[in-house]
């Protein structure tokens, strides 16, 4: 700690603080423009100049200068005010000052500073810029005439997003911000530059001329897409979300968002939202009143008693409170057949981690990742599934020189980060590589083996997984593999990242167990600052596991329910917030289930492919229309808040489930989310320590920052050999979409409007395929057509197709394998 004096006040701050930080600590606000909390010190605008007794003769930038012991700082004086005024004047030399037509007006830092420091009259007859605006893309508009060259966009896109869209070009007075070759912006569209631009130079296009900032009502909630659990601030006007706003003071995400959170909100306002319940009459789904729909559903579900009864399949986007009600409903119905998310992909957590560590969740928290020395990511897709965690990894690398190792079958955003080491493996062999890394640690005596159960059996089971064997199988360099294992074990703080979700079904339990074994040997679980992160794809994937939306006792899991239904053995199916026909592996099986099941109820925002086959369809509410909690992939319980009313007669899942339970004779009623949350604590001890109303803006993390394993058990797992063929297809997440909801959102659709199959240049050349050509992909006896996307991410023989677009029929081929052997032709 360092002691200094600022404007006569004594301050004690950490020695890494800047003068600006220290002043803030004691409530002294030094004006800044180029400074941004989340970016590295920069010092360009010179607004924050202050006097320091010990550095006489010049003024010192408060935002870049570290504090030192005994410093005496003056933050305002006549001289300082004069300088700030001049800086203002310099900045306005070429600024267009078109505030009346600028959407930033009212929350513009330049406006505020001009208000504080001076007139806008200018003694310098300089030239105003007259640069064309960049509005080629539908999401972000750039008007460089308003730019004050603070570099925040350049920096955030590089330092945080890791994309690097922007750079300064030209020199001196002509300096401006440009993209490569000064073309239109074409990037990830995460909108981070929009958030950070202090003036109206970078603005969200969907919000253009929609409202003045002060007219907007702000509601802090949690993004409804992925398990990252970013805090989003809904900008609401007239019961409509008009924009998503930026707030780096709250949330686990530091104000960072990905395109889905930033621009993917429009599905909420979509005109195709279901607004009235539907019931099938004479083969047609027709709109009915709620009471009738509930009655039909209740009757259908109570009558379903001939065979195996009712199966309930949920998605992972319900709130914890809704999950609780759903479990309750299952009890009322008297069924044990309850499951979520396809039933397989999360087994890495519910079984893999449970058997090895005795816990069913990630052991660390996301902010801790930033100070890890070594980070091992399994699959390059982790960035795509959890982009904002990816940004933390990027910062760990850039700020703290972390070493990233990626075990991946293809290149991607993660593998392009600075100094990232990629262990590029043949698709489907990740598990073998993890096993080999475990073996290296054991053979070289680097493993922490104290207190590990099953060590001998584990060692024996690894005998075949020598780095050399595995190298030969997978194509990964044996020395790199060994060195990576050593690095992981040698680090003070390290992390292993693995995402799960519907497109990552194969060997999910085994892969997680292999990761956990390696983590145990490297001493990761339970060590402060280190963590094994198993991250669910959806906003409340972790909540579904915590709340136990899983088959009870001998209940059927998702796959078994669908199989039983297809065989006519299940009487009824209740599907909530899920479109299995579009997104589950093996579409034929799901379709057959929906066709053969005696009775089906689907509850969703849209008339999905699955809903089209249902007997009753309930119109449900989006995340923006409800209250409750989500638990993100690092066990953080956060408050979801209602920003708008649901369209038409749509109701929250919780309200529908309660109403249905009522119809079925369940008299249990809970008044409000807080009461339900308290009730959850009785079933889920980890939640018992929290009070709903006390969940603050950072949420609360159950189990603590570092979740202690309750057992340390090595579980031997072996790799399945993927089928061999000339071409292999893998599926997964694309950065711009999440599950199947974002395909209703105009923002993500603007960037990625349709399904595609990606292939490397070498294969494309061999097949004579160009970007955009239609390709026939056949496997598992089915052929589909997809547009080709050619780039240099994929090695020879590997194809990738994202799973979000139900209409493309990818899941006709994909039946949950790690890789699908396919043939490809034009």
């Amino acid at each position: 700690m360092v002691n200094l004096t600022i404007d006569g006040k004594q301050v004690t701050v950490s020695k890494t603080a800047t003068i600006y930080d220290a002043a803030k600590e004691v409530g002294i606000n030094i004006p800044v423009l180029c400074y941004a909390k989340k970016l590295l010190p920069y010092g360009a605008c010179r607004f924050c100049l202050v006097q320091v007794e010990q550095m006489k003769g010049r003024l010192i930038p408060a935002c870049t200068t570290p504090v030192s012991e005994g410093m005496v700082v003056t933050t305002t004086s006549e001289e300082i005010q004069k300088v700030r005024k001049t800086v203002m004047e310099f900045l306005l030399v070429n600024h267009v000052l078109d505030c009346p037509v600028c959407d930033k007006g009212g929350e513009c830092d330049l406006q505020d500073l001009a208000y504080e420091f001076g007139s806008i009259s200018n003694r310098f007859e300089g030239v105003k810029f007259d640069l064309p605006t960049d509005e080629i893309n539908p999401l972000i508009e750039r008007n460089m005439n308003r730019c004050v060259l603070c570099g925040r966009c350049v920096r955030v896109c590089d330092e945080v997003v890791g994309y690097g869209s922007y750079s300064f070009i030209n020199r001196g007075f002509e300096t401006k911000i440009a993209t490569a070759y000064d073309r239109g912006l074409n990037c990830e569209f995460c909108g981070q530059c929009v958030s950070l631009c202090p003036v109206g130079a970078i603005l969200p296009r969907p919000f253009k001329f929609k409202a003045r900032p002060w007219q907007i009502k702000e509601v802090d909630s949690v993004c409804g897409y992925c398990g990252n659990g970013c805090t989003v601030t809904l900008g609401v006007l007239d019961n409509k979300i008009e924009t998503i706003r930026f707030n780096d003071e709250i949330g686990v995400n530091d104000g960072n968002l990905c395109i889905r959170g930033r621009f993917g909100y429009a599905y909420v306002n979509h005109q195709k939202r279901l607004t009235k319940p539907l019931v099938r009459k004479e083969g047609q789904l027709v709109e009915v009143e709620w009471d009738e729909a509930l009655q039909v559903a209740a009757e259908g579900l109570s009558n379903a008693q001939n065979g195996q009864g009712v199966g309930i399949l949920s998605g992972a986007r319900l709130t914890n409170e809704e999950f609780f009600l759903l479990k309750n409903l299952a009890k009322t119905i008297g069924t044990d057949h309850l499951d979520h998310s396809g039933g397989e992909c999360y087994k890495g957590v519910s079984e893999g981690l449970n058997e090895t560590l005795g816990v069913k969740a990630s052991t660390g928290t996301f902010p801790q990742l930033e100070s890890c020395d070594v980070i091992l990511a399994i699959r390059s897709d982790f960035w795509e599934t959890h982009p904002v965690v990816g940004m933390v990894v990027n910062q760990a690398i850039r700020r703290n020189d972390a070493q990233l190792v990626v075990v991946a079958d293809k290149r991607g955003k993660l593998t392009k980060l600075p100094r990232a080491r990629t262990l590029l493996t043949k698709a489907g062999y990740e598990l073998s590589i993890l096993n080999a890394m475990s073996k290296v640690l054991l053979d070289e005596g680097l493993a922490q083996v104290d207190g590990l159960q099953n060590l001998d059996a584990f060692k024996a089971a690894l005998s075949e997984y020598t780095p050399e064997n595995v190298a030969q199988q997978t194509g990964v360099d044996a020395d790199l593999l060994k060195d990576s294992a050593r690095k992981l074990a040698g680090a003070k703080k390290s992390a292993i990242l693995l995402a799960y979700g519907l497109p990552y079904t194969a060997q999910s339990k085994e892969l997680a167990a292999a990761a956990a074994n390696l983590a145990l040997l490297a001493g990761i679980p339970g060590r402060a600052g280190s963590g094994l992160y198993l991250c669910g794809e959806k906003a409340n994937s972790q909540g579904a596991i915590d709340l136990g939306v899983l088959p009870a006792g001998n209940g059927l899991g998702a796959q078994q329910m669908l199989t039983a239904a297809g065989e006519g053995k299940l009487d009824a199916l209740y599907v909530i917030a899920e479109d299995p026909i579009s997104s589950y592996p093996d579409r034929q099986m799901v379709e057959q289930a929906m066709d053969k099941v005696g009775f089906s109820v689907v509850q969703d925002l849209f008339l999905s492919a699955t809903a089209e086959k249902a007997d009753v369809v309930f119109p449900a509410a989006s995340f923006a229309e409800k209250e409750g909690t989500f638990t993100n992939a690092e066990r953080r319980i956060q408050r979801v808040r209602q920003g708008i009313k649901s369209p038409g007669e749509a109701k929250t899942d919780g309200a529908i489930i309660s109403a249905l339970a009522n119809k079925l004779g369940n008299t249990l009623s809970f008044t409000g989310e807080a009461a339900i949350f308290a009730e959850i604590g009785k079933d889920v001890p980890a939640y018992a320590e929290f009070n709903y109303h006390e969940i603050g803006s950072q949420g609360v993390v159950w189990g603590g920052e570092t979740l202690a394993p309750t057992r340390r058990n090595l579980v031997s797992v072996s790799a399945e050999q993927p089928a061999s063929a000339d071409y292999h297809l893998v599926t997964g997440s694309a950065l711009y979409h999440s599950g199947t909801v974002s395909v209703h959102a105009s923002g993500p659709l603007a960037v990625m409007p349709e399904a595609y199959v990606e292939l490397g240049r070498e294969d494309a050349a061999a097949l004579g395929v160009n970007d955009g050509d239609l390709l026939k992909v056949a496997g598992n006896g089915v052929e589909i057509q997809l547009k080709a996307k050619v780039d240099n991410r994929l090695p020879k023989g590997l194809l990738f197709a994202p799973y979000h677009f139900g209409n493309a029929g990818l899941n006709k081929l994909y039946r949950g394998e790690a890789v699908v052997a396919v043939s490809v032709s034009k």
Binding site: T64, F168, F173
Partner: protein, 423 residues
């Protein structure tokens, strides 16, 4: 015609570049042999004792800079030679690179050994292609002779040297901008701290020195610090200095002269006096960013401290002389235009302030200025000096500040006459 001891130029022959063999004949690489028998720390101390100050313009004591360097830190460490030399009126490094590249290489190997650097980069101005080839040839010769590469002269010390051709902008001479340029990034200066010695090229500890600074090193090792100190004519000074003459002189070439030599001697003896028998009016003593000296300063010793005492700097000792017919407003305007153009555009006072100063000078030079403009000019000098991110803008204000101080009447004449009085 130069009676003073020649150290850096001792091997220089017109139009020739010294080969390894002739360099060795005059004692070349003896300094290195000697240095490799010393400890790195001893070398730093020796250089500190010699009083050598940086020749790149800022004049920081070299030995002290080296002693801050984390030479014991593990991993890569770099020595970078700054040969950007884009300061108007400065061309001394080019003479060294043309005449005697081995002298630089020897200096760099010794410096690298003292700093325990693992690799060295020689960063050269884009226009110095001939020099770049000279240095590359010399590197190859040195490597073949065992002065570079693995296990230099059997000492176990290893070093590789690389030539980098700059994309060519004045700001690249600023050492942190240079590092960005070397990394292939846009050459904006970097925030300090962290200083290059902590986090420099590619994030590794890096020391940057000027060509001339490094060229002195082998001689200091060979002849000792006392010898070096005694080369200067002032008591506190040490060493010789390359003076690159330009402007209204009869002779505009580069001379190696002792530090502390009176300005008059530089102008009259070495510059051959003012052209066409005119009178000396002013000079930039050390490149375009140093405040003017006038006739009253002709007897000043040309060394760091005496020049600072009169509000100027020796800078690079590129002396540009102006005769009595010169309009100093026009000169200054020209210089500020250069700086405004070369501003990297990173910080507000420089990017937007220099054009404003340039615009004011333009106005005054064209007889369109008034007294308010003059006041504004004075204010803006204050508002820019010491407010910018790097030293470029401050340097740019050097001539303007001294214009206001030394040539106030000339400025006023422009305003009163409504035109340039020298027209």
């Amino acid at each position: 015609m130069n009676d003073y001891p020649q150290v850096l130029f001792k091997n220089r022959l017109p139009g020739e570049t010294v080969t390894l063999r002739s360099y060795e004949k005059t004692g070349g690489y003896q300094g290195l042999r000697k240095a490799l028998k010393m400890s790195p720390n001893e070398i730093c101390e020796l250089v500190k004792d010699s009083g050598l100050r940086g020749r790149g313009g800022a004049g920081f004591p070299t030995g002290i800079k080296w002693s801050f360097f984390p030479s014991k830190a593990p991993g890569e460490k770099y020595l970078v030679c700054n040969g950007d030399e884009m300061e108007p009126g400065t061309y001394k490094d080019r003479q060294l690179l043309r005449a005697d590249p081995h002298q630089l290489i020897e200096g760099m190997v010794i410096a690298s050994y003292a700093l325990q650097a693992t690799a060295g980069y020689i960063f050269l101005r884009y226009a110095y292609e001939e020099c770049a080839q000279n240095v590359e040839r010399a590197i190859a010769e040195a490597k073949a002779a065992g002065y570079l590469g693995e296990n230099i002269l059997g000492s176990g010390f290893a070093l590789s040297l690389h030539v980098h051709r700059s994309a060519g902008r004045y700001i690249l001479g600023e050492e942190t901008a240079l590092l960005n340029g070397l990394e292939g990034k846009r050459p904006n200066p970097r925030a300090k701290p962290p200083f290059p010695a902590q986090r420099g090229l590619f994030g590794k500890p890096t020391n940057v020195n000027n060509v001339e600074t490094l060229a002195n090193v082998s001689h200091i090792i060979n002849h000792g610090p006392v010898w070096f100190q005694e080369l200067a004519l002032t008591i506190e000074g040490s060493g010789t200095k390359l003076f690159g003459l330009s402007g209204h002189l009869n002779r505009t070439t580069c001379f190696e002269l002792p530090l502390g030599i009176p300005l008059r001697e530089v102008v009259e003896t070495y510059g051959g006096g003012i052209r066409q028998g005119r009178a000396f009016k002013a000079c930039l003593p050390g490149g375009a960013s140093t405040p003017y000296l006038t006739a009253e300063h002709l007897d000043l010793p040309m060394d760091f401290n005496p020049l600072e005492e009169v509000g100027s700097r020796i800078g690079t000792a590129g002396v540009t002389v102006f005769d009595e017919t010169t309009c100093m407003v026009a000169v200054t305007r020209n210089l500020v235009q250069f700086f405004a153009r070369e501003s990297c555009g990173f910080c507000t006072p420089c990017r937007d302030g220099l054009p404003m100063v340039s615009w004011l000078l333009d106005k005054i030079e064209h007889g369109l200025g008034n007294h308010d403009d003059l006041c504004l000019l004075a204010k803006q000098v204050q508002n820019i000096t010491g407010r910018s991110f790097c030293a470029l803008a401050e340097g740019a204000m050097g001539p303007v500040e001294s214009l206001l101080r030394l040539f106030e009447q000339e400025l006023k004449d422009h305003i009163q006459k409504g035109q340039c009085p020298f027209l």
